[in-house]
């Protein structure tokens, strides 16, 4: 009780805001708090945004999206399942200890150990083993040829072996130590995370002496924070928010097309959409251009397939279904599906307006659509459950954070995948083959055929490439990237 009282007093009189000072502190408003500081546990966007600034990863992507060195300086395949990494030797953790190949091996072993119960396990479980093979060298073995390996390793943060083993997983999560440009100073759960610059960072001293990440769930409140100078940058805004902020003098908007694709899932195994003609008719009923211009206010780029140009495997020449309501209506009549009820399941996480716009478009071609909004876990349970339970249609925004078709259409449409409500042996063969080779040209050819099958069968409809919108102070220099990375190290005042 006395602790609580003391805490309240501290809350009321202490912790006064570090308001709009000379600003060697950057304040970031995020929609949510960090779930775990441990980079090998949660990897939701908000957590990732924060801890990615504390840790270095084995590999990273540059602004153009190319995979480039970070802890690893170079890598080479010695055979289809073995890859050797050369590592930097000049990286120090925040406690002063040196980052060694053992730390890298430890990080891989740790995240692939089921006992850690890491939600990221499935991204790394193709790795069979890792070993130190030299003073600055690590060798990885995969279970089979795994083309997406490098893309996955971009997300592998290197944690300090000695420290983690000493304090244990739980304590590490509370007080992480990394080798990145910022170190964790304090973490007020649910409120904010304070980072301070790692002055001895191997890439050079960071521009901002400190960073504060605040958790502000309501986007209207985040915008108000920006307008009053309480925060310097925020994300997670809708296109309408962006339009409203266009004329704010002190603020500027920045947006980038991401690897996130907005699509409609179409259940090919159950309900009225079991009929291919109905699926094709739905594809023709959707007016992408209006969605992009009216709802997205232009903050999106059309795509005909369920993939964005930011991903490997994107094929521009697979033509989508044109917007043709008359033909759609005819097709539905032909299928005898006039007035059939299309059940659309969704959650508050997805844009309500898009759902309703789709509803209107389907009704315009003679279908009936009911929308059922449930909370995210319930939605997932149904969407990933049996085809009968998964609804006929739903909206999706997919990003594998690997910028590779394998991370998108394989889980979405390959038979046996929990997301897939579609079976097509030819399609399965193509995506399996694309996964089994490291040859980019061959992979692309497989994906081309795979997308042609998807176009004909319509188990999903690509809508547009989503854009990430950032609102920030006019003088902040920040270049957003397709994988929505948020490196404070790369930001500065202009």
């Amino acid at each position: 009780m006395r602790l609580i009282a003391a805490a309240i007093i501290a809350l009321l009189i202490g912790a006064l805001p570090a308001r709009a000072q000379p600003k060697d502190t950057l304040t970031v408003d995020l929609p949510g708090d960090v779930a775990t500081m441990d980079p090998q546990l949660q990897w939701d966007t908000d957590s990732y945004t924060v801890y990615r600034n504390i840790f270095d990863n084995l590999l990273t992507r540059d602004v153009s999206g190319k995979i480039v060195p970070q802890v690893a300086t170079a890598w080479r395949y010695t055979n289809d399942t073995t890859i050797v990494f050369d590592l930097r030797s000049d990286i120090l953790f925040h406690d002063g200890s040196r980052l060694t190949p053992d730390d890298v091996v430890f990080s891989i072993a740790r995240i692939t150990n089921p006992a850690l119960k890491s939600p990221q396990l499935s991204q790394f479980d193709q790795i069979a083993s890792a070993e130190t093979t030299g003073p600055t060298q690590v060798t990885l073995h995969t279970k089979s040829p795994y083309p997406a390996l490098l893309a996955q390793l971009v997300k592998l943060s290197i944690v300090p072996k000695a420290y983690v083993e000493k304090v244990g997983d739980t304590a590490f999560n509370q007080a992480v130590i990394g080798s990145g440009p910022y170190r964790l100073k304090s973490w007020q759960r649910g409120v904010q995370t304070n980072l301070e610059a790692n002055e001895g960072y191997w890439r050079g001293k960071p521009f901002f002496k400190a960073v504060t990440f605040r958790a502000v769930p309501d986007s209207a409140t985040r915008i108000a924070d920006l307008r009053t100078g309480r925060a310097d940058i925020t994300r997670g805004l809708t296109p309408d928010d962006a339009v409203a902020m266009k004329n704010e003098k002190a603020l500027k908007l920045s947006s980038i097309a991401t690897e996130r694709v907005a699509y409609l899932f179409v259940n090919a195994l159950s309900g009225p959409t079991k009929d291919k003609r109905v699926r094709q008719a739905i594809a023709m009923a959707i007016d992408r251009d209006t969605l992009i211009s009216a709802l997205q206010q232009g903050y999106a780029k059309p795509t005909n397939i369920v993939l964005t140009p930011a991903n490997f495997g994107y094929v521009a020449d697979v033509k989508g279904w044109p917007f043709d309501p008359a033909k759609a209506r005819a097709l539905i009549k032909e299928a005898g599906a006039e007035g059939a009820t299309i059940s659309f399941i969704t959650s508050p996480a997805y844009d309500r307006r898009l759902n309703e716009a789709v509803q209107q478009m389907l009704e315009d071609v003679g279908l009936k659509m009911t929308i059922a909004v449930m909370d995210q876990p319930t939605y997932l349970r149904r969407r990933l459950g049996t085809p009968e339970d998964a609804g006929s249609l739903s909206q999706g925004r997919w990003s594998c954070a690997c910028q590779d078709a394998d991370g998108v259409i394989f889980p979405l449409f390959r038979s046996g995948s929990v997301w897939s409500k579609f079976t097509n042996p030819e399609y399965d063969a193509e995506v399996d083959a694309a996964r089994a080779t490291l040859d980019d040209a061959r992979r692309l050819a497989h994906y081309h055929r795979a997308f042609e099958i998807l176009r004909e069968e319509v188990p999903g409809i690509g809508l547009f490439q989503d854009e990430a919108i950032y609102l920030m102070r006019r003088e902040l220099a920040f270049t957003p990237t397709a994988n929505e990375a948020f490196f404070v190290y790369d930001m500065k005042w202009e």
Binding site: I8, L11, A15, K117, T170, N173, D218, T221, T228
Partner: protein
């Protein structure tokens, strides 16, 4: 008196146990968090493996027994999402919640009770009607809307108050107003009724017959008598405050347990939700016990066990 309190405490703990049971089973019925924890491309085997590791494939009664066993050892468990001890996660939020609830209560009581008294004493006048309109307004606007209006007015346009967050007393003002508004109207209405009720009693006429003015009679006799029903409402209102806090805390980015609870429900972080709910129910129990003690303080009949 002590026996009474002990029996109330026993019944209250029973109620808390009921709360735990209801919440436990409803949460489990609503699905487990495995699907939220796996990355988007995970296969069914991977999902099932994680579910097994987390123990959600066990029969519900066994999970419940295990939970109660842990609880009996005061082990609140570890959050699935935050991977930290639940007790710590919840405890960190409690000061914020207490601060917000106190602020809101201050608004509710500080405005509501005087307004209620004035409404009762000035019954039938324009003053009563004006106050009634003002007071009921607090109960007639969705907080998610009034909250954003407050932010735009006091935060953005006037720049008087911080738009969000929890640093210092200034940032407590707007959330307290938004949250306290609902309670304020409840208090005002109940106080009005209680005071009117007392004003109609003989002892008020008797006091006035002894030469007390209406005001003196109200201050000297009525208010104390009217306090008992008002204290009852106050105790119940604490529960409502914590419930209303869910939306207010979201709008104002106030890191209290309301926000924690809703986020934990959405992420099916069972143990956090259960601990929050347990805390709320214990607060409810405690405030009701406190109300019992207050009755005794106010009313000699209860104090002396008549």
């Amino acid at each position: 008196m002590i026996g009474h309190i002990a029996s109330r405490l026993g019944q209250a703990l029973l109620a808390s146990f009921g709360v735990l049971t209801i919440v436990f089973f409803i949460m489990r019925l609503s699905g487990d968090p495995t699907l939220l924890l796996v990355p988007e491309g995970a296969s069914l085997e991977q999902i099932n493996q994680l579910r097994h590791q987390l123990g959600f494939d066990r029969p519900l009664p066994i999970q419940f027994a295990a939970y109660l066993g842990d609880l009996a050892r005061l082990d609140f468990g570890e959050s699935l999402v935050q991977r930290a001890p639940v007790l710590g996660i919840v405890a960190e939020r409690i000061p914020y919640t207490v601060a917000l609830a106190s602020g809101a209560l201050l608004v509710a009581i500080g405005i509501g009770i005087p307004a209620g008294i004035v409404m009762a004493v000035a019954r039938g006048t324009w003053l009563e009607r004006a106050l009634a309109g003002f007071v009921l307004a607090g109960q007639s606007l969705p907080t998610f809307w009034s909250g954003i209006l407050l932010i735009l007015l006091f935060g953005v346009t006037l720049g008087w108050l911080p738009t969000s967050g929890a640093d210092g007393i200034a940032s407590l003002i707007m959330p307290s107003l938004a949250l306290g508004a609902v309670g304020m109207s409840t208090f005002a209405r109940m106080t009005r009724i209680a005071v009117l009720d007392e004003l109609s009693r003989d002892y008020v006429t008797a006091a006035r017959a002894r030469g007390l003015s209406r005001g003196q009679a109200v201050v000297g006799h009525v208010l104390r008598n009217a306090a008992v029903p008002v204290v009852t409402i106050a105790a119940l209102e604490i529960g409502n405050l914590l419930a209303g806090a869910v939306i207010v805390e979201t709008v104002f980015a106030w890191p209290g347990i309301g926000q924690l609870a809703i986020q934990s429900i959405q992420s099916r972080d069972f143990l956090v939700v259960q601990t929050v709910v347990l805390f709320v129910s214990l607060v409810y129990v405690a405030t009701n016990l406190l109300a019992d003690l207050l009755y005794a303080l106010i009313d000699p009949r209860i104090r002396m066990g008549a």
